[in-house]
């Protein structure tokens, strides 16, 4: 794999970056771009449509290059040995689109699948379930939610048809990978039963308005008080955790409060039990180290390239300490690139494919 970086974040910077990779003989390209670049369909569609090699990736709140996080610019990963196969499903939130049928067309035999999805689609869980139903866990999966921290939905996925909104790209490659997933958040209270939920909104916990229950626990633990303007400042340190047997809880990040209901990134279900989690900075950073060693432990050869998919809300929570996370993954022997995403997608090869929040996913190749 060949890596190129563009720090300008301009449209020309993007075009030159991709052209350089293609000229170096890449058979396909993954591009990770920062939201601040301000790319639109008008800027890029024509260029993407005329590109002779498969392209995928997307626009994320921030991107990673070596041990640096960039809020402007692009990184490109060129695939030199085999041609990646990109399958795009558009309008996934539309009930008339049969996601299962769309997936029928994808070859079942592959080593690794990259999954990039519009983080503001309402059918993320359906897509994730269908991937698992179709392909199981024989292969590795890595990816995340693309989008802007402004929470405004817009075209964010790169495809050879142009930028796509409300879609998912499923890209298969014949490169062997090792995946590690860890978040490091621990339970401080629970379990609370979700007694009323609607897709990604928790309306009631234990038959009470969700925010009422959440507020009581979090204010007591944090010694801070929720006001009208500081919900996410406090909530970023107190996500929900959904129980599973034999593995870490699945984190659900509450991003806003609307009339006593809590809006999360990722679906929640009626009847599920959740704990309220909290993380110490050291615990979160050490979780990333574990994720890296889990991933690299599964790879029989030396790590040449690391793809780090980390949650943007970990950056917002860890602030300056986030650099420690990057340092934990960046090694001098391999190149690190990545994206700070709105939700992470991965399987560790041992359990159910999930759409995570506030979680570090490390893929090594």
């Amino acid at each position: 794999m060949e890596i190129e970086i563009d720090r300008s974040g301009t449209v020309d910077g993007f075009k030159n970056l991709v052209a350089n990779i293609r000229n170096r003989g890449a058979k396909g390209v993954l591009v990770l771009s920062a939201d601040k670049n301000g790319y639109t369909s008008e800027n890029l569609d024509s260029f993407l449509q005329n590109l002779e090699i498969p392209v995928f990736g997307g626009i994320f709140p921030e991107i990673i290059y070596k041990n640096e996080k960039l809020d402007i610019g692009n990184v490109a990963v060129g695939f030199m040995n085999s041609v990646p196969t990109v399958h795009t499903i558009e309008n996934i939130s539309d009930d008339d689109v049969d996601i299962a049928e769309e997936m029928e067309e994808i070859e079942e035999e592959f080593e690794t699948m990259f999954v990039f999805i519009d983080a503001f689609s309402t059918s993320i869980e359906t897509v994730i379930n269908e991937i698992y139903f179709n392909f199981g866990l024989e292969s590795n999966f890595i990816g995340g939610g693309a989008g802007s921290l402004s929470f405004v939905q817009k075209p964010v996925l790169y495809t050879n048809s142009g930028l796509v909104e409300d879609g998912v790209t499923l890209t298969t490659i014949e490169e062997v990978s090792g995946i590690g997933v860890k978040h490091g958040w621990e339970s401080i209270d629970g379990a609370f039963q979700i007694t009323k939920a609607n897709k990604n909104v928790i309306e009631e916990l234990d038959y009470k308005p969700a925010f009422e229950v959440y507020k009581e626990v979090v204010e007591k633990h944090s010694n801070m008080e929720f006001r009208e303007d500081n919900f996410f400042d406090i909530a970023k340190g107190y996500p929900f955790g959904i129980s599973k047997i034999g593995t870490e809880k699945i984190v659900r990040d509450p991003i806003s409060e609307e009339g006593g209901k809590l809006v999360c990134v990722g679906n929640v279900k009626d009847g599920d039990y959740v704990d309220i989690l909290h993380g110490e900075k050291d615990g979160l950073v050490s979780a990333v180290k574990i994720a890296y060693s889990e991933g690299s432990g599964k790879l029989e050869s030396d790590v040449k390239f690391t793809l780090f998919i980390d949650c943007i809300s970990r950056v917002l929570y860890l602030e300056d300490s986030f650099q420690e996370e990057l340092d934990a993954v960046a090694t001098k022997d391999s190149i690190l690139v990545g994206a700070l995403t709105l939700g992470e997608i991965a399987n560790t090869g041992s359990d159910y494919l999930e759409f995570y929040n506030k979680t570090a996913v490390v893929g090594v190749f």
């Binding site: 079942e108 379930n129 698992y132 139903f133 179709n134 392909f135 199981g136 866990l137 024989e138 379990a191 129980s243 599973k244 047997i245 034999g246 593995t247 279900k269 009626d270 009847g271 599920d272 039990y273 090869g349 041992s350 359990d351 159910y352 999930e354």
Partner: protein
């Protein structure tokens, strides 16, 4: 794992069971939740009544394709002797029985706690019950679909039958047209007394045949849902009295007393379908006379209620006839039914009249009620509500058109049927009309081009070129020569509702005449398009 955590997870799994009655959908939710909550790498549900499992018995598996999956290949070889065990790479499999349904296989990287495995027992029973409910539901849906399909087929067969009856009636009406028409002409040739009697017999038989055919056509229209009523204002009292007069003489012929009374408050002019209302009266009174060997038949029309605009009135036709057994009262309303098969032989008729009458009354918003004592007599009654109007509102539509009217003009007649040709020729000759006769549409176009016609009478079903095709060419010719549009009248034995609209609006004819050809209708059309002499 702590007990509370285990209970939470098991609760969540149990909540995923039975949320759909579609087996695929239900098992997908259950298996997905099981694998997710128990951190399994793969799983499958098998439906097996004979305790044999294999790819072909999988209701659902995750991943979807397990036919080449080495874990499952290994399990299929071992399941008869092992209900759990280790697979390649250290993975564990668990074969769990779904009572009275089949099996569940779970594959996991690590062993499941015994307590969890044991706690799954009631959940497995629930999954089995729910799966069986899904299967029963799908069988029920399949049976319902089969029944619906059968119903569609029966309805289609019924429709085909009605269509056949309509076609057959149409075919019979054409030659009958010739018979009735020529009988009328024959009467004018000063026949001998004996010939007159014979003519009367033929005439009576033809009329009976025409009645039967009309009944069948009406019945076909009712069956096809195409029967409609046409509301016009007319002199109800006059029409009712006409009907009574007709039946008074028929009753007298059978030595029956006939009584008829009309409520003095019954308005003279009402808005109703005159023809259909008359048909109802005729059917009911005709039946009463037919099935009454001695005694009387009485008709009573009484007003039940009225306001400024409408009147609700009841008609009762009572006879002292053979009556109807109680258990047959509803049955006689079914088509082709009389109370006793021997009645058909004795009294004749198709058994359609009462069914048509009932339907016509219902179309007008009423209901036919029957009360009868077998051997003593019957009463057939119905109640209708109709608007009434002032006599001055009845205008020209009541003016009769006919008699010995004469017209200027030259007529082109296109008709392939020889009998009909003769009939039309006779009628037109008697009217002193000048006309040319051709046998098909092509000849009609040629003749028309020679010019000089003021009106065209065009049959529809003709060889070489039909009426519609001929009209099209005539119109094109007129346009190319900038000629005035010549009235083209379609003559057809197609007498179903909607035909008139089709021929005039869709095919472009100027007027429509149905066969058997009626001289009064012909006079009306000529009056519309030609100058009177």
């Amino acid at each position: 794992m702590v007990g509370l955590e285990r209970e939470k997870v098991l609760y969540e799994i149990s909540m995923s069971i039975g949320n759909s009655l579609d087996l695929k959908k239900m098992t997908k939710e259950v298996l997905g939740t099981l694998l997710r909550k128990l951190s399994c790498t793969s799983g499958a549900i098998f439906q097996s009544s004979d305790e044999v499992i294999g790819v072909e018995k999988a209701v659902l598996s995750i991943p979807k394709n397990i036919s080449k999956n080495k874990d499952y290949i290994s399990i299929f070889e071992r399941y008869r002797t092992e209900s759990s065990g280790e697979l390649d790479g250290g993975k564990q499999f668990y074969l769990l029985k779904l009572p009275n349904f089949g099996y569940l296989i779970l594959i996991r990287n690590e062993e499941l706690e015994t307590l969890i495995l044991k706690s799954l027992t009631p959940i497995l029973q629930k999954i089995a019950n729910s799966s069986n409910a899904c299967i029963q539901n799908s069988e029920l849906i399949e049976k319902t679909e089969q029944l619906n399909q059968s119903l569609v087929e029966v309805q289609a067969a019924n429709k085909a039958k009605s269509q056949f009856l309509a076609n057959m009636s149409h075919e019979i009406r054409t030659p009958l047209n010739g018979i009735v028409g020529f009988l009328e002409l024959l009467k004018r040739t000063e026949p001998t007394e004996q010939q007159k009697r014979y003519i009367d017999v033929i005439n009576s038989s033809s009329e009976t045949l025409l009645e039967i055919i009309n009944d069948i056509l009406d019945f076909s229209k009712i069956e096809a849902g195409k029967m409609e009523v046409e509301y016009v204002a007319f002199d109800f009292i006059h029409e009712a009295k006409m009907v009574f007069e007709l039946f008074k003489s028929r009753a007298k012929d059978k030595n029956l007393d006939f009584f008829a009374s009309i409520d003095v408050f019954m308005p003279q002019y009402i808005v109703m379908d005159k023809i259909r209302l008359k048909q109802i009266f005729v059917n009911l009174i005709n039946n009463a006379i037919k099935f009454t060997p001695d005694g009387s038949v009485s008709v009573k029309i009484e007003v039940l209620e009225s306001n400024d605009e409408s009147v609700t009135w009841k008609v009762g036709v009572t006879d002292t006839g053979i009556g109807i057994p109680e258990d047959k009262i509803q049955k006689i309303l079914e088509p082709f039914t009389q109370s006793n098969n021997s009645d058909t032989r004795k009294f004749g008729g198709t058994g359609l009249g009462l069914s048509i009458t009932k339907n016509l009354i219902e179309l007008m918003g009423g209901k036919l009620e029957i009360s009868s004592i077998h051997g003593e007599g019957s009463t057939f009654a119905f109640t209708l509500t109709s608007k009434f109007v002032d006599g001055s509102e009845i205008e020209a539509d009541e003016v009769r058109t006919g008699g010995n009217m004469k017209f200027h003009g030259r007529i082109l007649v296109a008709e392939d049927n020889i009998v009909n040709q003769l009939l039309i020729s006779e009628i037109l000759s008697q009217m002193d009309m000048e006309f040319e006769l051709v046998g098909n549409g092509e000849e009609a176009v040629e003749e028309f081009r020679d010019g000089g016609f003021d009106l065209v009478l065009m049959d529809h079903n003709m060889p070489i070129l039909d009426g519609a095709g001929a009209l099209k060419q005539i119109r094109e010719y007129e346009e190319s020569k900038n000629l005035k549009r010549t009235p083209n009248i379609i003559l057809t034995a197609n007498a179903l509702k909607g035909d008139r609209e089709r021929f005039i609006s869709e095919l472009g004819f100027d007027e429509y005449l149905s066969k058997p050809l009626d001289r009064i209708q012909l006079n009306t059309v000529f009056k519309k398009f030609l100058k009177e002499k």
